[in-house]
């Protein structure tokens, strides 16, 4: 039962001041993509845009009832979109630009909470522009910046010409840890192919899972590893001042550089990081091998040097709790700095409760709809404020079609999609939010399976 989509697609554009929203908007309006786009921009737009179908909006956020923030919507949007829909012949696409500091929640919720909106419009995607250079100033302490990343279906890392490639990698890894569902693109001057941001189809969970193998990767207690080929002798691991007064590290032998050997050492490292830590001060020797979890305590000021000795020449893998760049850390041999043969970054295992993360779950089998409804409504009642977005492709017992749904906070919209046919029937679900408990979510989801 494929239903023809007659609703007008809406793209919501978010991003901090200076991230390039206006540049992108102007590009969208001038580029020849054959679409007639109506733009709703905030009244205090950064730069004026000259187009008949640009409408100014005042961010009027209000609560739907009971003062619950999960039900805040943008009243101005409801009104403007309502009027716009009467002139349906004049455009076939709508873009909503938000102010830099806007929480995307109320904007997104507007499309779910109002009946007229749901009948006539559908949220195609939330596109978030990220200033690749300046985002670091906000990403750790600004709720708005985190939410804009967390809500996004598409993230455009803009101004990449202003940052070093390794910083870009780090940024991308960080963003993926917060929102593994979003498609991430890189751009200069907001140059991006239009089909990457318009008519994305919103529902890209399938693709996200296929394209991004890291998506289902477990979380590790370390963020980085580097492989070194070391001869017999003494080495120095030198660290500058960093964000934390200490950092965990493990140095493990590696049989060879083949995949199987690396995986084996990786497992050893996970075990090692679960051992009791041994504090090391400046000048002390880093202990080698499985089970030796070193806690490198830094001097209050300046650099701190740790030593270690290698008796058995060969490959070694160094695992660090944080990225060495954060401490400007490097390994010295007898004469000079040694570069790792290869490095890898891991999806960090976040200890901070306030951190925004995504939890993806894949479960084979059929779900029982009543159980699922019961679980979801309880979950959203208890944690709706912390669950920013939720998407799923579900296999429901007794249904021939895939059931797809997506939600914003406590509101969600689900509908049958194409038939499963020969595809493996399974359930995929992703949550993006704060304080997410993976184990509890997995258990709850599993309980919904038809017995």
């Amino acid at each position: 039962m494929n239903t023809v989509e007659t609703r007008v697609p809406v793209t919501v554009l978010t991003g901090f001041l200076g991230s390039g929203k206006t540049t992108l908007l102007n590009r969208i309006l001038t580029e020849n993509h054959g679409k007639k786009i109506a733009v709703i921009e905030n009244e205090f737009g950064e730069v004026g845009i000259d187009n008949d179908l640009v409408i100014g909006a005042e961010e009027e956020i209000f609560e739907m009832n009971n003062g619950c923030i999960c039900c805040t919507v943008r009243g101005d949007l409801i009104r403007i979109l309502g009027h716009l829909m009467k002139r349906r012949d004049k455009f076939d696409y709508i873009m909503v630009e938000t102010t830099g500091m806007a929480d995307p929640g109320p904007v997104a919720q507007t499309f779910y909470v109002d009946d007229d909106m749901q009948q006539k419009l559908h949220l195609d995607a939330i596109v978030t522009l990220v200033d690749a250079k300046h985002i670091w100033e906000h990403i750790d302490d600004s709720d708005e910046a985190k939410e804009q990343v967390a809500f996004a279906d598409v993230i455009l890392l803009n101004k990449i010409d202003l940052v070093a490639p390794e910083d870009l990698e780090r940024l991308e890894a960080r963003i993926k840890s917060m929102n593994s569902m979003a498609k991430i693109y890189r751009s200069r001057d907001a140059v991006v192919e239009m089909d990457k941001i318009l008519n994305v189809g919103g529902f890209n969970l399938d693709r996200a899972l296929e394209v991004d193998p890291k998506f289902m990767e477990p979380e590790y207690p370390f963020e980085w590893s580097g492989i070194y080929q070391l001869n017999t002798g003494t080495y120095k691991w030198v660290m500058g001042e960093g964000p934390d007064p200490a950092m965990g590290a493990a140095l493990l032998p590696l049989a060879n550089t083949g995949l199987a050997a690396k995986e084996a050492t990786l497992m050893d490292a996970v075990l090692t990081f679960s051992e009791d830590e041994q504090a090391l001060e400046a000048g002390e020797m880093i202990r080698l091998g499985t089970g030796q979890y070193n806690q490198l305590v830094l001097n209050e000021n300046g650099e701190t040097v740790f030593n270690f000795a290698i008796q058995q020449p060969g490959f070694y893998m160094l695992f660090t709790e944080h990225h060495p760049d954060e401490f400007d850390a490097r390994l010295y041999g007898a004469e000079s700095v040694l570069d790792p043969l290869e490095t890898r970054e891991y999806k960090p295992d976040h200890e901070h409760d306030e951190e925004v993360t995504s939890v993806g779950i894949t479960l084979p089998g059929d779900l029982q709809l009543e159980k699922l409804n019961g679980w979801l409504s309880q979950l959203l009642r208890e944690q709706g404020q912390d669950i920013f977005r939720m998407k799923g492709v579900l296999s429901v017992r007794g249904w021939d079609e895939r059931f797809v749904f997506q939600g914003v906070h406590m509101l969600f919209d689900g509908r049958p999609d194409r038939p499963w046919e020969n595809e493996l029937r399974q359930n995929k679900m992703i949550f993006i939010g704060r304080n997410l408990d993976r184990a509890a979510l997995e258990n709850g989801f599993r309980e919904c399976l038809a017995s």
Binding site: I55, E58, F62, M64, N65, G75, I78, R79, D114, D115
Partner: protein, 321 residues
Amino acid sequence: MGLAWSPDGKILAVAGVSGPITLFNGVDGAVGHKLPGHALDTMAISWHKDSRLLASVGQDGKVRLWDAETGAQRSEMAGGASWVERVGFSPVGDWLVSAAGRKLRLWNSSGQLVREYPDASSTITDIKWRYDGKQFAISAYNGVVLYDPTEEEPLHRFEWQGSTLILEWSPDGKYIATGDQDSTVHFWITDSGNDLQMWGYETKVLELAWSFNSRYLATGGGTQIVIWDCSGKGPANTRPIMVEGHQHLIKHLKFQRQGMLLASGGNEGMLAIWKVKKKKPALLADAVFKAPIANLAWSPDDRCIAVSDESGTLSIAAVLR
């Protein structure tokens, strides 16, 4: 499509969403003047009591006054924001109020600004005059504010923490009914400022219609017409009359000006005429249009009803008795 009969019933003004306003002869339907209206969209129209002056507002940020006899524009005023959404001539006096975003302006019929009020707390969603023109009310997020046009300060504020979308005075001025985004209907008792809240609607409520004797308030907000009986002690703790018949959401409700017939228009394109009485209202007639009903307007003598649908069709139906 905005529809407004001149008070003398001789002209039906029709404002299309593309901007122009057409004046039809109210008796034979002949096309009269075509006014350019407002570029982009004409959002509301209102007649002066003399049936000669028509006010319009739209998305060009302007309030315009038109001479219906000559078709000429008499005045053009700035509404205060890019979209001027509401306009209303006093039913008795010479005043006109307009609302654009949070800007509320009072004009005289020559287009001179009488007063600019301090900005409302939120975008003004509706303006309605009391029957005698001595007061008018505006709605916005946070409820209703009542004004005396001769005074700058508001008379009362009827506060509700929600977005009020539409308001209707009962013809006797005792109640102000509102429809709200949070799927409620409120009855504000204007004397005491008390509020009766009616919960349980399917959707936001944008459809309100009072019967001429102030007894019944018909409300939409779903597929059923919900009619409250305000006689006796009022609608509090009473069970409303529920009228089924529409397949889709009801979009418009209009009572006759002097009779008990209620017209309802739905998203499925159905127009229905009901006779409202204490027990079950009776369906007298129905007709199906090819697109959702866009507007309804009874003629001043209650003999005809103008109906527009979203495909742009305008019909005038005579109601036989």
